[in-house]
Amino acid sequence: MSMLEASPRWTEGHIGIFDWRNVFRSDRLTVVLVLVLAVVGLMNLYSTDYPLASTAMDAGGQARTQLRNLLFACAVAAVIVCFDYRFLLSLAPLAYLITIGLLIYVEVRGYVAGGSQRWIDLGFTRLQPSEIAKISLIYMLAWYLGLIGERIRKIPYLVLAFIIVGVPAVLIIMQPDLGTTLVLGPIALAMVWMAGCRLWHIASLGVLGVIAVGVIIAHVYGVVPYPESAPDLSDYQKTRIQSFFEPDADPTGAGWHAMQTRLAVGSGGMLGMGFRRGIQTHLKYVPEYKTDSIFVVLAEENGFVGGMILLGLFAALFSRGLILARDCPDMAGTLLGVGCVTMLFVHVFTNIAITIGLMPVTGLPLPFLSYGGTFYLTVMICIATILSLNMRKGVPGRPV
């Protein structure tokens, strides 16, 4: 034992703002949870690739691609963990300004896909500034709220916080990308809440939000005129909201998908149809079943029990993330963790709620499960940020 005490473990010791040993000092529980979720996601995606009919198909092709996405995202996450989060936080204003610039650029001359401008074509790959915006906004808010401390209780500082959120939100809603915009709101609310703003401030904001949603729904049904200055909802968005309230109104159109999704989830039962045995999804009755509706596959094949296990894993990950955030030495770090956890939670909750018909369809991916590289990267950057909050714990001789 004395040998061990005399010569500290190789993972101990601290060097400046960048230390590769941080990778091995990461919180074990979080890492395990992330790995389990990643494996669940890969297997679930692999199941969708499995051809039920005997036609020749490249089985598992997309799962393999997703594995590559995962490995790349892990590599990026490892690099981020090696940095001192306070160094990254100090870069937040710069990153925020660059993000705004990218969002304006994409508005002016972005790459149009599926009717909305969301991409910047870099030649070798396509950049999606709205994904970057999620991360840089969390960092920016954490930096700002850490800077002003308790002054958040005063209205001007609170207003400035929402201006910081509002600028990218407006730019993203113009793309139009309603889903991403709706993520930014809860993130900001959670961070401002944890920064210690006044209770009645946030309560009145919540009331305002409820009123706004009410106005949108009333507008869809033509009850009230929509404020002219506000960006109008596109027809497909109105249809989606309408079909949420009346899924039987148009059984061949928008309501058809909701109906098929409900059938698929419901037929999963308690224990599910079994791995690779989901009928509805394999017969392609459910649209977007590899991306936004991936939860249907899990629910159909693994049933209520499978769904509960997935929820449990996410709940554990988020609780652990909040604990790590709480124990972070400074307030800015705590808020950073709160922001990351909230972002992941909003994605998980919204995605599943949409799938099982608790919310209208907007199109948000499910972390770890949905197919797609860009979003995987976003998720892993969040995880890495959470992991990097507590690197100083147990490092001797260093002030926290």
Partner: protein, 650 residues
């Protein structure tokens, strides 16, 4: 290891963190409850639904509306739908597919080997899906197949509606035809049309598409999986039903979700098929147009354009060769000569000049001019001929005589006095050179030149010098007898002629009976009309020398007004050297015009006749007007005030 220090936070931080954590867990709880509800509480129900209830929708096509015309008193069908029978074969239902195919080859004219190959292919892969044996089989074939039904198990007939045009070529261009929707139209009208739908492509079919098209219905059927589209068949009434899918499983319709189709609305038209057919027969072997309007309302009674085509060529499948032939034939049968082709109006334009001159007071009822057979502007320069140039002219003539004998010199002088602006104003008022507003798409406006038009036209051709853009008196002289750049459609000419007998109103020609467009307010005075009518009557009635140019249209006991026109298709020097006019090549011959109107009848007609390259209006077109008028009052009008013997020479 130093003891971990608890970070210092504001008061209530821990409580707030608990609220946040609680919110997250509450969200998950909501999801869990919903999942429990869906998967456990109602799971059995959903699983049962998902396992064998998969809904697919089948459209029930609505019947297209019928287009009606008239034949005298009776209303007749111009376009309706007939059942087209397709023979289909379901290999899995055949006891011996080879025998069935052989029997079919014996009964109906098909390629047995090709069918057998197809049947074998289907038998191997999807035995319960059907093979089309022959589309649109004849009644005889169908009866023969039914007689041998005992040997043809597995053979069925499918009914679908197909457009039918009972009168064939008669009024073919007016009725128009149907064609499959294209990609652009589909994108524009996604809510109303599906891939493979037909819609009106020309004529009434196109113009009244919205009226004629019905509202499709919807059938819902339970299938087993996607890609396993149900096999629809039709019963005797043409209603589709589901039998089985292509894998042979029984299918059932969810009758509760059925939405019936509603047929399209009929379109009633003023077109008289008998008159139309007669007009077309008059133009046989020639190219030309006859327009017959009700002069008071503008209702189109006939609008013959020869050559024409049978619209069913474009509707029935497998007639591509005929289609290509129609599209390439010259003179083209695809253009409607009544309103899609323009011709110089020639002397019929003098009616406009007469109206303008009398209305503006340029000439009074008594004023006369001298016609020596030729005319020079200000007495010098190039001479313009009167058509009586060889005979030394008409001598002293007034307005009535000038219209009756079609004196060119009189109208050269009157035209110069009027000036181009007044001529253009009155020709536009009377409907020349402007769209008439006919309720069929594709109408051509034609042109009556004006100062502005000439300048714009010259600039468009790259001329810029002031002397190239200016309007010259010589242009007015040319325009005065309807030559030069003037070009109108026969339909416009009929509208112009209607003004003469309906009290000076411009009518809007129309085929549809519903909501007929109202004529304009009168813009010509009674005095003006009386003089023009006198001239046009003399043109037809005067038989003693010098006779009216339209005397071949004369009908004893009936007031017929008329005006001949002989419009140069090419410049005079191209054909002036031919001694005999039968020697002139077709393309160089003059177009023959005659426009006529009747007065004093219950229904007054306004007629415009154009015979392409018919040489002279008085000989080629005027007799046709007589025939048309006789036919109308003998066969179409219900109570003809005079009984007339058809074909009687006058």
């Amino acid at each position: 290891m130093p003891a971990q220090r608890k970070p210092v936070r504001f008061e209530g931080f821990d409580r707030r963190l608990m609220v946040l954590t609680g919110t997250i867990l509450l969200g998950f709880l909501a999801i869990a409850m919903r999942l429990w509800n869906l998967q456990v509480a109602e799971g059995e129900e959903y699983r049962r639904l998902a396992e064998d209830v998969r809904l697919t929708f089948q459209r029930v096509e609505a019947q297209r509306g019928i287009i009606y015309g008239r034949n005298g008193e009776r209303e007749v069908v111009l376009a309706d739908n007939r059942p087209a029978y397709d023979l289909i074969l379901v290999p899995a239902h055949c006891d011996d597919p080879v025998a069935v195919v052989n029997k079919l080859a014996e009964l109906v004219n098909i390629n047995g080997e090709a069918l057998l190959a197809e049947v074998e292919d289907v038998l191997r892969r999807r035995p319960f899906s059907h093979v089309t044996v022959k589309e649109d089989v004849s009644k005889n074939d169908l009866v023969r197949v039914e007689e041998h039904a005992h040997a043809l198990r597995g053979v069925f007939s499918n009914v679908r509606p197909e457009r039918r045009y009972p009168y064939g070529e008669t009024a073919g261009q007016l009725i128009g035809y149907m064609g499959e929707i294209n990609r652009d139209e589909l994108a524009r009208m996604r809510d109303r049309y599906r891939m493979g739908d037909s819609l009106g492509r020309s004529g009434l079919e196109a113009r009244y598409e919205d009226t004629l098209r019905g509202q499709d219905g919807l059938m819902t059927v339970v299938v087993y999986a996607e890609d396993q589209r149900p096999q629809t068949r039709t019963d005797a009434t043409g209603t589709p039903f589901f039998d089985h899918d292509r894998f042979g499983r029984k299918l059932e319709e969810v009758t509760a979700r059925r939405v019936s189709s509603s047929p399209g609305n009929p379109v009633h038209t003023t077109l008289d098929v008998g008159l139309q057919a007669y007009c077309e027969s008059l133009l046989e072997r020639q190219a030309g147009a006859i327009v017959v309007l009700n002069a008071d309302t503008g209702a189109v009674l006939a609008m013959a354009s020869v050559p024409s085509y049978d619209p069913s060529v474009f509707v029935t499948q497998g007639r591509n060769i005929q289609r290509a032939e129609l599209l390439n034939r010259r003179p083209s049968p695809m253009r409607n000569r009544c309103f899609q082709e323009i011709y110089p109006p020639g002397s019929v334009f003098k009616i406009v000049l007469a109206a303008a001159a009398l209305e503006t007071g340029i000439v009074g009822p008594q004023s006369t001019r001298h016609c020596p057979g030729h005319f020079r502007i200000d007495g010098s320069g190039r001479p313009w001929r009167c058509w009586t140039f060889d005979r030394g002219g008409h001598g002293r003539v007034d307005m009535v005589d000038s219209l009756a004998y079609s004196c060119d010199v009189y109208f050269y002088e009157v035209g110069l006095d009027l000036g181009v602006d007044a001529i253009h104003e009155y020709s536009t008022l009377m409907g020349l050179g402007v769209s008439t507003g006919l309720d069929i798409a594709g109408e051509v406006a034609g042109v009556i030149p004006s100062r502005e038009w000439k300048e714009a036209e010259a600039r468009a051709r790259g001329y810029t010098e002031p002397w190239e853009l200016r309007w010259y008196p010589g242009d007015t002289v040319n325009l005065s007898i309807g030559q030069g750049e003037a070009a109108v459609t026969p339909l416009q000419t009929a509208v112009m002629m209607a003004c003469v007998v309906n009290g000076g109103r411009r009518v809007i020609p129309h085929l549809g009976i519903d909501n007929p467009p109202a004529p304009s307010e009168p813009f010509l005075s009674e005095e003006t009309l009386a003089i023009i009518q006198e001239g046009l009557l003399k043109c037809v009635e005067k038989e003693t020398f010098p006779s009216g140019t339209g005397r071949r249209a004369k009908i004893e006991g009936m007031t017929v007004l008329g005006k001949t026109g002989t419009a140069q298709a090419v410049a005079r020097e191209h054909y002036a050297h031919y001694k005999n006019e039968e020697d002139i090549p077709m393309a160089f011959r003059n177009h023959a015009w005659f426009t006529a109107a009747t007065m004093g009848q219950e229904v007054n007609l306004s007629i415009a006749i154009l015979v392409e390259h018919g040489l002279a209006g008085s000989t080629a077109a005027a007799p046709l007007a007589r025939d048309v008028i006789l036919y109308y009052y003998n066969n179409v009008a219900s109570s003809a005030p005079v009984t007339l013997a058809q074909g009687e020479e006058s």
